[in-house]
Subunit: 260 residues, 2 copies
DNA sequence: AAAAACAACATTATATTTGTTATTTTGTTA
DNA sequence: TAACAAAATAACAAATATAATGTTGTTTTT
């Protein structure tokens, strides 16, 4: 097992348990404590966890859990599956709009599979990954950089989006409750709204365990989207609400795609 | 001598001679021809030169010479010296505007020395290097990405700049002739002009050997700038013209700074 | 006082760089 | 255009550099 794999495994344990024990990790991976110390130091420097005496923690509910560097490590399989599904909705030649977030970044990195494309985004990770791709006309919205969301936001971003139109817009969100979509940050909400308004077709990308949650600001109604892409069946209540409203839910699974 | 140093040295030879000979390089660095082959392959992949039978060339006047990856390798000492001088014009708390180009990128990377700052730029290299800096409010203009200039340009960029103001704007340019400043690309010229208009103070950064040259599009008059920063005395004709017009020329030298 | 964290060094493992040799390609010219 | 020589490439082996890990001894924390 290589160092990077071990660090990823520690991340997984942190995600599921919220904390890890140093002695336990050393035993589990059959390496010395010193090595685990160094792993944890790295992860701490990267800003994805905090070292405490005898181990480490992600301090659920604090800055760490909402940091993009942490979120980028989570649920990679689910994100890849959703990206796979989203790609089927994209045809070469289209103008694609794509928002902030690590889900969007996963999709963004795979957009070259459908080139040529025009890609509009405020997502710094996507700008970086598409810069050197040929056949991609890359348009940045501009705005004030947010280290927390690794993207560009604010009045400038919204103004730029007002003047643009896309064939398809992909919006990701951390919370869906009933028939409403939520996000914790007002500035981010405004950028996402502007993108929804600018897309001829709009698709929502949500991890299945984000159904039944809310956040401070309402982002949109589910009915504003042409389809919702998720990675597995959400809880029963959400499913019922969606069915009754006659909305389309698309499931992306690692071994293929099925749809209702 | 390490590989990277040798490649830089090959770049220097390419800049001064326009071409290099494979056998000569192998002898000069006392390595095998195979090693030189690999160096040249790397440089070619990076897009900074072209391999030809028996050696390599930069094909002066072609795409290669104007490619940002190539330019970024050139005159690093001069660029650092000019950046040093430019930094003396920046006070903590200011809003700094800074344009595309490798000279600007060199300065951009050192802006944290004057934090806190607000930095407005369309330069992708600067966005990347300042993203993770605290105390820097980073604003991207947005626009269409240009791989050739490694920045964002176009109507969006110009519109965004129209709505912004900065305490100081740093403009770089590849050609100054008489009392006029030039650039080969119209779109780039428009972005630079918008920045000049948006800066309370504006400074021009030019390598001394770029005096006495022209390019297709006029960018500005020298008199529009509060000062011109360069790395050494330009040719006599340019110097005379500048003196007669009573403009300020600031010399940045590696061992310190002197000014006229 | 005991446990954990840290620092410094030694050791091992991995990755990178380089050279050698054999093979293929390219350009030249008879 | 056939044949040759030079150059380029590919494949492997050797050397070098870098990264990862463990050990030991010291310092810090509880």
């Amino acid at each position: 097992m290589k160092r990077e794999d071990r660090k990823q495994a520690i991340m997984d344990l942190l995600v599921s348990n919220g904390a890890v024990d140093l002695d336990d990790l050393a035993q589990r991976f059959t390496v010395s404590k010193m090595t685990i110390h160094r792993d944890l130091d790295d992860l701490e420097t990267a800003g994805v966890m905090r070292k405490i005496r005898g181990g480490g923690t992600i301090d659920a509910g604090t800055q760490f859990e909402s940091d993009f560097r942490f979120r980028a490590q989570q649920d990679r399989d689910a994100k890849n599956a959703m990206a796979e599904t989203a790609l089927t909705l994209i045809e070469p030649g289209m103008t694609v709009m794509i928002n902030d977030g690590s889900m969007a970044a996963t999709l963004g990195a795979r957009l070259p599979e459908r080139r040529p494309l025009t890609v509009i985004t405020n997502n710094a990770a996507i700008l970086e990954s598409l810069k050197n791709e040929t056949g991609i006309t890359l348009i940045a919205t501009g705005g004030v950089y947010s280290a927390k969301f690794n993207g560009y936001f604010g009045m400038m971003t919204e103004a730029a989006l007002t003047a643009l139109r896309a064939d398809v817009a992909f919006i990701s969100a951390p919370a869906v409750s009933g028939l409403e979509v939520f996000h914790m940050n007002e500035t981010v909400v405004r950028a996402k709204r502007a993108m929804i308004a600018a897309g001829a077709k709009t698709y929502l990308l949500v991890h299945h365990n984000r159904f039944g949650r809310t956040a401070l600001h309402k982002l949109a109604d589910l009915s504003e989207f042409d389809a919702v892409i998720t990675d597995a069946k959400p809880d029963a209540d959400s499913l019922t609400a969606i069915d009754q409203a006659n909305l389309k839910l698309t499931f992306a699974v690692t071994q293929g795609i099925k749809s209702t």
